[in-house]
């Protein structure tokens, strides 16, 4: 655990003036912006009194009292609650990027509600809180289980939270895709909307938020001890773990209570404490106070922007979740700047050398995986359900089936190979077992462009899709290179920069989801990998491309072996460090882009395959790459087969199945081997 104050001078005597000024500007700006559209209809006095009374004869006044005022109140209330929760989370984990969003708690709450809507509507009617709390606890439990042995280092915790967010998001999507038309309200709810037409939700919410906030404040003193660092806190008693657990529980309760009422309002809990800290809040008390205030102001501002955007456009609702996510991206980037100087990046010391399972013969492992791959191909080509029931097709009859089963299987396998290779490259480069193309945000860049195209309503062909996705991946790559230059290609900055990219993609996705129906399902299908659209020529094109890149990779095994030794050592061995990094980055990006257009941005294959290779005892770069490529191919081949047969004639996106299977493996594998 990294206590921040340890590296800082002792608490300053006074609060820097920036803080109150910024808070006042934020609050007044947001309040004025929010009330501006009303001033034409009501005078200022009437608008202020809208918070407690209304004039039944004047409908504007009714509207202000029952729609505007509760919306403003609930935005402030939720913002404050999430801001406080974020500050508490950062304190207990000693992690400047921790928040209910980045730890997966919000995704968990959403998952809980979706499951309850589908399978236990009774529970939902009784108390939506319970479902959301269950989901939130599940998410944070998984994050803790994942990072337990990795020592809760900040980057690892955030990446684990991201994995959990994706994993639960994937489960969520599986339900939405199969029940799309039936769950229209979940689409909008998931996007986070603060629209109110009654005081009831606010009245229900404020006592809960208040009680939870007070409980959090009661933990302030023990938390302050934590600030002194783990060792000194432990010396004061053995209850450190208990206090942490209790505080985390409160955070989950707070987040779930909010999520169950207005949906996922992401990143407020992250942005508020980050801003407070950037503006100079140093002591725990200051941090909690100013995070709370900043949270309230930020959410009110974000909500007002969302409301304005709704009225400026064609009147369609712009969910508040969109604007908070748009604010969240830059905040993560901001946080990155301050992140580097105050913390030693833990990923850099947990180099691959720290994790050495038993070595195994590469021939044996390669042989076994190849055999499994062959079996998968035979089963996938030959045995499938039809409208009349399952039937077996002999090899001689494969011609008939090739057109429907072949290209997609081939493309899925190739995407798996590409992700396996890219994942190995990135994990080697960053020295972080959580590194992967998905995490790097290159897939996210490709997806972002697709989201924008869907938003614009343009129809594009398959080739156009490929081109657009590649363009997006290249854009993300360019951004990453810029960012990487600045940080001299240090691995963890890249990973977190990728996270920021995902956040933007998320914002677009929320907008699409809220706008409704078929468009959303279509986009989601692509996002999670629609292998069924692959044509023969595309599959063979991909084959040629992957072969080409793989032979290129043969040339760079040496730099990959040398780089983890450290920059100085690498340079002294005659390697141009930054050029080698750039080349590796480029190859990883191209591989990722070609896989993303096939399988979507969210499969975990690039994360799992290299890990699997290492668990199987392949330590050298070359061996790890080969086994990771084969394992990736196998994983996606199986996913593609399953996606075709499990709900025949309906299909699940193959990437979604890979994410589900991979997520489970990942949870199990990391908690077992992740050291």
């Amino acid at each position: 655990m990294y206590a921040e104050s340890a590296s800082l001078p002792a608490a300053r005597p006074a609060i820097p003036a920036k803080l109150p000024v910024a808070a006042i500007v934020l609050w007044f700006g947001a309040l004025i912006a929010s009330s501006a559209p009303w001033l034409g209809e009501l005078d200022a006095g009437a608008l202020v009194s809208a918070f407690w009374t209304f004039d039944p004869e004047n409908y504007s006044s009714v509207l202000a009292h029952y729609s505007w005022a509760p919306r403003v109140s609930i935005a402030i209330l939720i913002g404050c609650g999430l801001g406080l929760a974020g500050a508490v989370t950062q304190q207990i984990l000693g992690n400047p990027l921790a928040s209910p969003t980045t730890l997966g708690v919000e995704a968990g709450g959403q998952f809980g509600i979706t499951v309850a809507t589908l399978f236990a509507p009774g529970l939902l009617a009784f108390s939506p809180d319970l479902a959301a709390i269950g989901g939130g606890l599940l998410a944070i439990g998984m994050v803790i289980a994942l990072t337990w042995r990795l020592g809760f280092s900040p980057v690892t915790v955030i990446l684990a939270g991201l994995v959990i967010t994706f994993f639960l998001g994937a489960m969520n999507m599986a339900f939405l895709l199969l029940k799309g038309e039936w769950l229209g309200n979940l689409f909008i709810w998931g996007a986070g909307s603060l629209v109110q037409n009654n005081w009831e939700p606010f009245m229900e919410l404020w006592p809960r938020v208040l009680v939870l906030a007070l409980l959090m404040l009661l933990l302030m003193r023990p938390l302050q001890l934590l600030q002194l660092g783990q060792t000194s806190a432990s010396a004061l008693g053995a209850r450190v773990g208990l206090i942490r657990a209790l505080a985390l529980l409160l955070v989950v309760l707070m987040t779930a209570t909010v999520v169950s009422r207005v949906g996922v309002v992401a990143f407020v809990g992250l942005a508020a404490p980050v801003l407070a800290k950037l503006l100079g809040a140093r002591t725990l008390g200051n941090k909690l106070l100013w995070s709370t205030l900043m949270g309230g102001g930020l959410l009110l501002l974000a909500d007002t922007l969302a409301h304005w955007a709704s009225t400026w456009g064609d009147g369609s609702l712009v969910p508040t979740g969109t604007t908070t996510a748009l604010i969240g991206g830059p905040v993560i980037l901001l946080a990155l700047q301050s992140f580097r100087n105050t913390h030693h990046m833990p990923g850099q010391e947990s180099s691959p050398a720290g994790f050495l399972p038993k070595r195994r013969s590469p021939v044996l492992i390669t042989g076994v995986i190849s055999a499994l791959l062959l079996i998968t191909v035979i089963v996938s080509m030959g045995w499938a359900p039809g409208l009349e029931g399952w039937n077996w097709m002999a090899i001689t009859q494969w011609d008939d089936a090739w057109a429907w089963r072949g290209p997609r299987l081939l493309a899925a396998m190739l995407a798996g190979v590409a992700l396996g290779l890219a994942g190995t490259l990135i994990q080697r480069m960053t020295g972080n077992p959580m590194g992967s193309p998905e995490m790097l945000g290159i897939s996210g860049g490709a997806a972002l462009v697709m989201v924008l195209i869907v938003l614009s309503g343009a129809e594009i062909s398959r080739i156009g899709q490929l081109g657009a996705a590649t363009l997006g991946a290249a854009g993300a790559l360019g951004l990453l290179i810029l960012l990487a230059r600045k940080h001299r290609f240090a691995g963890n900055q890249l990973l977190l920069g990728g996270l920021a990219l995902y956040v933007f993609m998320d914002a677009g996705l929320r907008l699409v989801m809220a706008s409704g129906g078929t468009v959303a399902s279509q986009l989601l299908n692509w996002m999670y990998g629609s292998t069924w659209l692959i044509s023969e020529s595309e599959a063979f094109g991909l084959l040629g491309f992957i072969v080409l890149i793989s032979s290129l990779l043969l040339l760079i095994v040496r730099p990959l072996t040398i780089l983890p030794l450290g920059d100085t050592a690498a340079a002294s061995l005659g390697l141009s460090v930054s050029r080698a990094r750039l080349l590796l980055l480029f190859l990883a990006a191209v591989l990722t882009a070609s896989a993303t257009v096939v399988i979507g941005p969210l499969s975990f294959v690039g994360l799992i395959a290299p890990h699997l290779a290492r668990v199987l005892g392949q330590q050298t770069v070359g061996r790890q790459m080969i086994v990771a490529a084969l394992a990736g191919g196998l994983l996606l081949a199986v996913a593609d087969y399953l996606s075709r047969i499990v709900v025949f004639p309906n299909q699940l996106p193959a990437g979604l199945l890979a994410a589900l299977v991979g997520g489970v493996y990942f949870l199990w594998g990391l908690s077992r081997h992740g050291r």
Binding site: V62, G184, L387, G406, G516
Partner: protein, 310 residues
């Protein structure tokens, strides 16, 4: 091996296509090219519900339909026989299931554009989108109906359907005019939950019904691609002079929630008892929903509104 064979199959297909072209084939233009048919198709697969509806109206039962079970819930009329097989979801149908049914015509829309090549390999594919940028949905829906009728040799039937539709629209308009109920604008909404509605915009299929009945749409803005906007309930509050028509389905308990909200009870249309509720209609369908909505809407308006949903 299989590659060669498939290339050969492809060439063979191409060749038969050419032969068919030289034989007295009829040709239609569609959104992604032309379609040649040398005989009226018998085994047709519909990849969306609008096409399904058009085929059923023409008296042809498709041999396969996407999201078959959903059709009964969301479209309902015209009735789809229970034994028609499902061939997958509307966004990702199973190519294999389609091929297994050996269709001689596939009807789909431009959302399936990325798959059009693959579909072409199975059978001639007619691509028509009721919703398309720069077109009015109803015109595209009629085009789909008449073109399908030409392909099937059932032009007379299509004409009867369209004439009957016009007739119905005129009758309903007269009923409304006689009752003097055409002056106040109408807002057509679906409740998504107790805070959000889908409101149908002037670029929706429903606009055709409103126009024909002489009713003004209360919502002035263009909707999304599909002709609707998702809005917060407060957005419709600004249109105080309108009548609100709520289209089923609604969530259970909605009536109670709304009744407890002064925001709703003070809403001018609510105070005027001008909340009307009608059965589900499929807003992205072909021509039939226009007729169905016209009849239900007129009945509801004539019957009189209330101050809440049921």
């Amino acid at each position: 091996m299989s590659i060669e064979v498939s290339v050969r199959t492809f060439l063979a297909l191409l060749f038969t296509g050419l032969v068919a072209l030289t034989a007295s084939a009829e040709t239609w233009q569609h959104e992604y090219g032309t379609i040649n048919l040398d005989a009226p198709p018998k085994r047709i697969i519909a990849l969306n519900w609008a096409a399904t509806e058009a085929l059923l109206l023409l008296g042809v039962t498709p041999v396969g339909v996407a999201d078959r079970d959903g059709y009964d819930v969301w479209v309902n009329e015209p009735k789809l026989p229970a034994d028609v097989p499902n061939i997958g979801t509307r966004v990702a149908p199973s190519l294999e299931a389609i091929a297994e049914l050996q269709p001689d015509l596939i009807v789909t829309s431009s959302e399936m554009a990325p798959a059009s090549r693959q579909l072409e390999r199975i059978a001639p594919t007619y691509v028509i989108s009721v919703y398309k940028e720069g077109h009015r949905p109803f015109e595209k829906a009629s085009e789909m109906l008449t073109t399908l009728a030409e392909m099937l040799g059932r032009e007379a039937r299509a004409n009867t359907i369209l004439a009957d539709l016009e007739q119905t629209l005129n009758t309903q308009r007269q009923r409304l005019e006689e009752a003097g109920m055409t002056d106040r604008p109408v807002a057509l909404v679906n409740f998504l939950d107790d805070r959000h509605v889908r409101i149908y915009a002037p670029n929706s299929l429903y606009q055709r019904t409103l126009d024909a009945l002489g009713l003004a749409n209360a919502w002035p803005m263009q909707g999304n691609f599909w002709g609707f906007s998702v809005v917060g309930l407060e957005a419709i509050a600004s249109y105080r002079n309108s009548r609100i028509v709520v289209i089923d389905p609604i969530l259970p308990g909605l009536a109670d929630t709304l009744a407890n909200s002064p925001f709703w009870t003070y809403l001018p249309p609510v105070r005027r008892n001008q909340i009307y509720q009608i059965d589900a209609v499929w807003p992205f369908g072909g021509v039939y929903p226009v007729k169905r909505l016209a009849t239900m809407l007129t009945d509801a308006l004539l019957e009189g509104g209330s101050d809440n949903v049921r």
